[in-house]
């Protein structure tokens, strides 16, 4: 299976996620609030108690998450080893569960929606769906299913 285009799509999602996480982390470090997107709410979310885990801004975990995902995709692209895809698939699924929990917090606990956080969550969910498709195609190409 040709890996160039799928890797570009998967890497694109991870890279966008990484960029958003970096931007949100920079804001958290500087003590500023992310630029307002339609809908607002970032101020409320950023200043809520849920914006930090164990005293660390949640956005920092986003850098780690998307950075590792991007690394896995690059490793798969370069080697063709399906295990990288499999680990990325599992990591992405964990991310989807966490993203759903964070959206629940925004909607029902904090009472505000941060468009940046929604955009980051979208890169995780759509990235994982893309990974699922690529993973299936790769398995089919290997004759596994």
């Amino acid at each position: 299976m040709a890996r160039g285009r799928p890797a570009l799509v998967l890497g694109g999602f991870a890279a966008v996620g990484l960029a958003i996480a970096l931007y949100l982390s920079a804001n958290a470090l500087a003590g500023t609030v992310p630029a307002c997107l339609p809908g607002g709410g970032c101020e409320t979310v950023a200043q809520s108690e849920y914006s930090h885990w164990l005293g660390i801004p949640v956005a920092f975990f986003g850098i780690l998450f998307s950075g590792v995902l991007l690394g896995l995709i690059v490793a798969w692209w370069r080697t063709g080893d399906g295990r990288f895809l499999l680990v990325g698939y599992a990591q992405g699924l964990i991310g989807v569960v966490i993203v759903l929990y964070l959206r629940y917090l925004e909607l029902f606990v904090i009472g505000a929606i941060c468009a940046w956080c929604v955009a980051y969550g979208a890169t995780i969910v759509f990235g994982w769906l893309a990974l699922l498709v690529v993973q299936r195609r790769a398995r089919r190409a290997r004759g596994e299913g």
Binding site: V33, E43, E49, W53, G80, Y89, A90, I94, V97, R139
Partner: protein, 301 residues
């Protein structure tokens, strides 16, 4: 390598069009890898049901791991201290800042800027303001002597009912005297996240909050007797003043008496507005080139 090539050849009759034989070393290597995986997949498929396939197991493990992370994180995120059934405020207002002349005010009355917050204890946006923005406002501007912060009642969510939750909560907050700000912090921290006028601020609940903040119980009970009629009247009078001044939503913030639009204004808006008022109020020193942006204003994004 050679054994793999031969196994590849054994499969050829099953395919309608035989694939082109691997020409390069890279292609041969990939073909060998493919055959190996195919053989291993067949072994697995022959011996185990579909739900035991590696993919299904990995999916289940990832979902479980994700849920474990969520449970751990939610436990870590919400270690809310409680008093009885009450959640303790995360960032309580420093009692030392309470204005001795007005228990519903913080800071020095002589501060260069007066900031009034028109609020309803049932209002979710007031909750967001009180628990997330106000603590920073107090730290940066009230504690430093720049702002005199006054809480104003604008009780409207219970539609003016004297025994409604907005009115009774506001009356109870007045009945705790100099414990007003602690009471205020508890009310917002324990506000009903599922909606207004649903019985959260019951008489028993308000009494438990008064107890938690250490209010004089006898004085509180006396003040709240008969539906706290005197305090409710005071709440209504202040709400009427707010209406006359143009308040039509909560929270509404007024700086030196001037109402600001936008509800729960963030510090990025409030800070520069307060700094501008302070700069305008302080006479420029002689020889000064002109107004200089304050550090707080220049740090805004």
């Amino acid at each position: 390598m050679s054994t793999n090539s031969s196994s590849s050849g054994a499969r050829q009759p099953k395919t309608p069009t035989p694939p082109r034989p691997p020409a390069t070393r890279q292609e041969r290597r990939e073909a060998a890898r493919r055959d190996q995986r195919l053989a291993s997949a067949r072994t697995v498929a022959a011996g185990k049901p579909a739900w035991q396939s590696p993919m299904a197991l990995i999916t289940a493990a990832a979902v479980v791991l994700g849920l474990v992370v969520v449970i751990l994180v939610s436990g870590v995120l919400s270690p809310k201290a409680t008093v009885g059934n009450l959640i303790k405020p995360l960032r309580p207002t420093p009692a030392a800042l309470v204005d001795p002349a007005n228990p519903r005010a913080l800071g020095k009355a002589s501060a260069p800027v007066t900031l009034e917050v028109w609020s309803d204890f049932q209002c979710p946006a007031c909750d967001a303001f009180a628990t997330t923005i106000e603590p920073d406002l107090i730290d940066q501007y009230v504690a430093t002597g720049k702002v005199h912060l006054i809480y104003r009642d604008f009780a409207f969510i219970d539609k003016g009912a004297a025994d409604g939750e907005s009115h009774q909560a506001a009356a109870a907050a007045r009945c705790v005297g100099d414990k007003f700000w602690a009471f205020h912090d508890y009310l917002f921290e324990n506000q009903n996240p599922t909606g207004e006028n649903k019985g959260t601020f019951s008489a028993a609940f308000l009494a438990s909050v008064a107890d938690a903040v250490g209010a004089d119980k006898a004085a509180y009970d006396a003040c709240m007797a008969n539906g706290a009629a005197d305090m409710v009247a005071a709440v209504n009078a202040e709400t009427a003043v707010g209406t006359a001044a143009g308040v039509n939503q909560t929270p509404t913030i007024a700086l030196d008496g001037k109402l600001m639009q936008g509800g729960a204004l963030p510090m990025t808006t409030l800070g520069p507005a307060i700094d501008a008022l302070i700069a305008a109020a302080s006479p420029a020193p002689s020889g000064s080139p002109g107004p200089v942006a304050s550090p707080a204003a220049s740090s805004a994004p």
